[in-house]
Symmetry: C2
Subunit: 698 residues, 2 copies
Amino acid sequence: MIAAIKRVCIHYQKLLHLRTVSKMASGSEAVLAPLRQAVKEQGAVVRKLKEGGGPKSEVTAAVAQLKACKKALENKEKSLSPPTKSLFDKAGLEDLMKRRFFVAPSFSIYGGVAGLYDYGPLGCTMKNNLLSLWKAHFVEEEDMLQVECSTLTPEAVLKASGHAERFSDLMVKDLITGEFFRADHLLEEHLEKLSSKAAPDKIKEYQEVIRKVDGYNKEQLGAKLTEYSVTAPLTNNPISAPVELNLMFGTSIGPSGQLASFLRPETAQGIFVNFKRLLEFNYGRLPFAAAQIGKAFRNEISPRSGILRVREFEMAEIEHFVNPEKRNKFPKFDKVADLRLTLYSATDQIEGNSPKALRLGDAVEQGLVANETLGYYMGRIHEFLLRAGINVEHLRFRQHMSTEMAHYAKDCWDAECKTSYGWVECVGCADRSCYDLEKHAAATKVDLCAKEQLPEPRLVEVVEALPDKGAIGKKFRKDAKALLEWLAGQEREAMQKLESQLSMGAATVTVGGNEFTLEPAMIKFKTYQKEVHTVDVVPSVIEPSFGVGRILYCVLEHNLNVREGDSQRVWLSLPPAIAPIACSVLPLSGNTQFQPYIDTIVKELKVARVSIKVDDSSGSIGRRYARTDEVGVAYGVTVDFDTLTSSSVTLRERNSMRQVRVKMGDLCSVVRGLVDGDMTWEQVEGKYPLFTGQESTN
Amino acid sequence: MIAAIKRVCIHYQKLLHLRTVSKMASGSEAVLAPLRQAVKEQGAVVRKLKEGGGPKSEVTAAVAQLKACKKALENKEKSLSPPTKSLFDKAGLEDLMKRRFFVAPSFSIYGGVAGLYDYGPLGCTMKNNLLSLWKAHFVEEEDMLQVECSTLTPEAVLKASGHAERFSDLMVKDLITGEFFRADHLLEEHLEKLSSKAAPDKIKEYQEVIRKVDGYNKEQLGAKLTEYSVTAPLTNNPISAPVELNLMFGTSIGPSGQLASFLRPETAQGIFVNFKRLLEFNYGRLPFAAAQIGKAFRNEISPRSGILRVREFEMAEIEHFVNPEKRNKFPKFDKVADLRLTLYSATDQIEGNSPKALRLGDAVEQGLVANETLGYYMGRIHEFLLRAGINVEHLRFRQHMSTEMAHYAKDCWDAECKTSYGWVECVGCADRSCYDLEKHAAATKVDLCAKEQLPEPRLVEVVEALPDKGAIGKKFRKDAKALLEWLAGQEREAMQKLESQLSMGAATVTVGGNEFTLEPAMIKFKTYQKEVHTVDVVPSVIEPSFGVGRILYCVLEHNLNVREGDSQRVWLSLPPAIAPIACSVLPLSGNTQFQPYIDTIVKELKVARVSIKVDDSSGSIGRRYARTDEVGVAYGVTVDFDTLTSSSVTLRERNSMRQVRVKMGDLCSVVRGLVDGDMTWEQVEGKYPLFTGQESTN
């Protein structure tokens, strides 16, 4: 995930600083041609430099320029694409989220804390529903092993994983106030400001630097900050040279801070350190997948973009452990092979092409997606996001380019959703090779291998020590046992070495801190062939990693609508299983005769575990429907005067606003069926008489 | 919760240091009489001292002695009660939990961290089931507002709540190694050691100090440590005087630690700081309840007792906000009034009586439980714990004594479960009065009131300022507006004061940091009666607070059984809705003809969202049943040779180990019905033919 996270930051930066670039062009489809050409040409430059083994600094600069060209193209494409129905109503959605308490800033009465948010009743229930769907779709459907590990993580674990060293941003400090700023942001903002009143050649120079900023290392960034005399914003105070600031929250465990620790920046490590237990739980067999839902924490320097970049957030991660030699085949791959995904390959990004819709089976066959296991998860992620309410038109899988991918990763694709903030990474799906387990095994000296059954037994050479127990016991007394155990546990290489040493005279070995000087007569060696049936395998890890809050936000943006002819009447087209409330129950008026019917309906729907809310407030029925539509309540049941005589109620569907008349005895199973997707609204309309009239009373 | 937590610590201490006391008695029921008498007499001493206004130190000492007497009685009662079927098989349970990966120490491969545990697949699923039941039983059934708030909490919030100051333990430091120890534990252990080889009068003195240790303040504890020359354990190094060590994990938010923060020690504060939003969500009406499930963190000095005292744990908390004048009546109280709860009142604790089974309605009527709202929640907690699998024989509600209850609390009862560790507090249920909201309102100057409709309008006196806007505008220019707004917003008292000041000449007021000197001619005052329809109310809070891990542990202990005649065959009698796996699916053997049937059953049960696990390992069917019984799998479906011809399978119930033969078409609805509790096993046996034979094959 480290690489992925860094990339997101870069992604946002780009969206910001390339606004200027994209302003330079204007107009129709033809406008795209020169931009595409620029990307293509720069792509060629990069390839040439790399192939020719050009100096690293030049490659870095060329790649930065390529990225900038790509982004300019993408922004232009975005500006030219037809505006989508309310997709970009950011202000409207944020107002709705706050007003109806889906999500709101934490500790507001204390002035608030940037990057911390609380989920209110609607947001919390919607998040629970999203996670419930996730569990059904992944954990239950795929028989994953769900775990829940500690948030507090000792430093040693995060040193091994690489987070303690590399999970950081470059920062500068206001030398007077002590405030910190992102070094790259500061340089960009400074140059943007200079650009606004500079001569054309200077503008060109500044934009050149802005384009290259992602590629600068600490020293280069420091040099540029000095060259352009950048000072702290607002105060204009002098600033320090850039320093790396780790993004993890530190704390310590125990009364006197004995154990330096961090809040986990991702949930994955908890799974890796439990690998042996999980393998045993799975009867020692590969492959298997473990899953975890839980909070992770990142001390973002300047949180922004609402709930998209926060300091405390929920993740849902899967670690699929597989024999690296077997990841190319996945038994259930057929089930997703025919899905058409929008794939934005690294090559297409470099060459300035648009993303392409491709059959997943073909993508794997062509080698675009590294293997069937990775491909299978991409397909399942695609299906999950659609079930959650993501609009397929605004979903794509973007492949990491080699420059942004961690060196150990084999392939990595991000599921990105288009929103008013641009394309947002919601799910990362990476083939991480054996990196994580190898790192933890090296740090702990604990063997993190699986034993794989060989298709047929293999012959291996064994060198066995045959100690003279009497002689050894006599010389080493109480320490003899440890020595004998050690001799029995050694690998072939160690025994061969000892045999050769003893062939030349006495030899000394160290066991448990004690030195033993062995005489040649004490040990004989036997060399023979042995049949082995298993081989040790360090599994590869395929890691789909979900940002739950981000998906929730994108689902909300993709489902925000306005009723035709009434721009004030906002409604959410959330899937019934995701909607914070599945069904509202409304008495037509405050007439007390309705109460027993309301009570019965509420009781029955609760038993059926349909989430409901009674709205017995005084507004007209139309106004109350509007209020429930606004938060995505999927169905509405109204008790009216006809109920008193016919024991039937109206059932309303949110999207069509159409209503049917249903007998109370049928109501529960109809609503449950609709929410579970066992029944469609069309089927309901086919079975029950349409009802008209109430809605117009507002 | 603060008081409750401190109390738990005391509770455990007592269990420890009173072992010696309880050893002094022995034998039959008659043995209890003198212990009861001792408690009664000491209770009388305490009452007399309190009534007579005796010196505080004497009262404290007498209360400490009383507690010791009570505990001795309780321990004796415990030792005399008939041993319960496997209730105290701590070692067996811990072995099972580790071996089958319910719960295991975190970061073991890195040497582990005390007080941190990971939930494996079975523990995690069982916890999910427990929380799912909790949500259905409380949040859904009672229409609570579920929220999810930040874990990171700024210091200011926890200063206002009292945690920053009071959430601490007294510790001493090894002056050489720097290691910390609980001061009271150290003194106790030291005196226990001395007791073992001391003269009778010395033993009496030591035991006296041990009994009083809970009542000592920092200075008294320090004096005793010096008096008895206590040193650090193992090293015998000198120790420091006791210091208060806060139990919260500190961290800081932002790049340079600008914002001192803590990991929340409980989830409740997140609800309090969102009170206004939640009130608005509830249309401004009282009462309402908010609920939160989430992690809390406490930097325990010496975690122990397995998962009962840990540093990171899940809580489920409810805050019920109610007009303090209306908490005596609760509309649904009738639904729980007839429940018989085992109540251990403060009086019974003081007088040395045993807990009593009492009708909840009577307990409230007698004033034993403070009000119907508190009583209702106690009833609902009782029902929940039984549904979760707690054995009613080992459940009691213990009332806090005035000495252990926070000064602001009105009444507090802990649901305690009996385990091999003694009585464990699993749920606290407190009437916290208006404490929390008043504290946050005072700290933030934000009004945290609800407006309650008066039954009939009330007349109040209003003093209204009638400013001469011309004169004010002329004198104060641009500042005039702020002054006028201020005048319009003042309460009666402030206006009366200003009127009286101005009647004597010019008066000065400060608004927004500016001073305004007003002349008598500038303002006239009008006094009149006004009808008001609402009154401001700071709600009382009733707080049921659940320790999820503790409940899970107690449920496991209460459901651990051994098959008759085979002490090796351990099984868990977990309720089907709580069991980590509801149903196992087993092919009789590795015969490939069984596979399509297994696939069909798995698919259908998954659609019905019955949690399942296929066990196609090679053990005999009996051995495989034993393995599923051991982790509490409620039902087992076996595909055998008859399935191939009759399309029927066997369905086995875990507790009775009886089996029936069910058609595959009926299987899903039968299992779903059993898990949901819509159907009993007896009904299933009535409907389907019994099947015998397989089990004996192991």
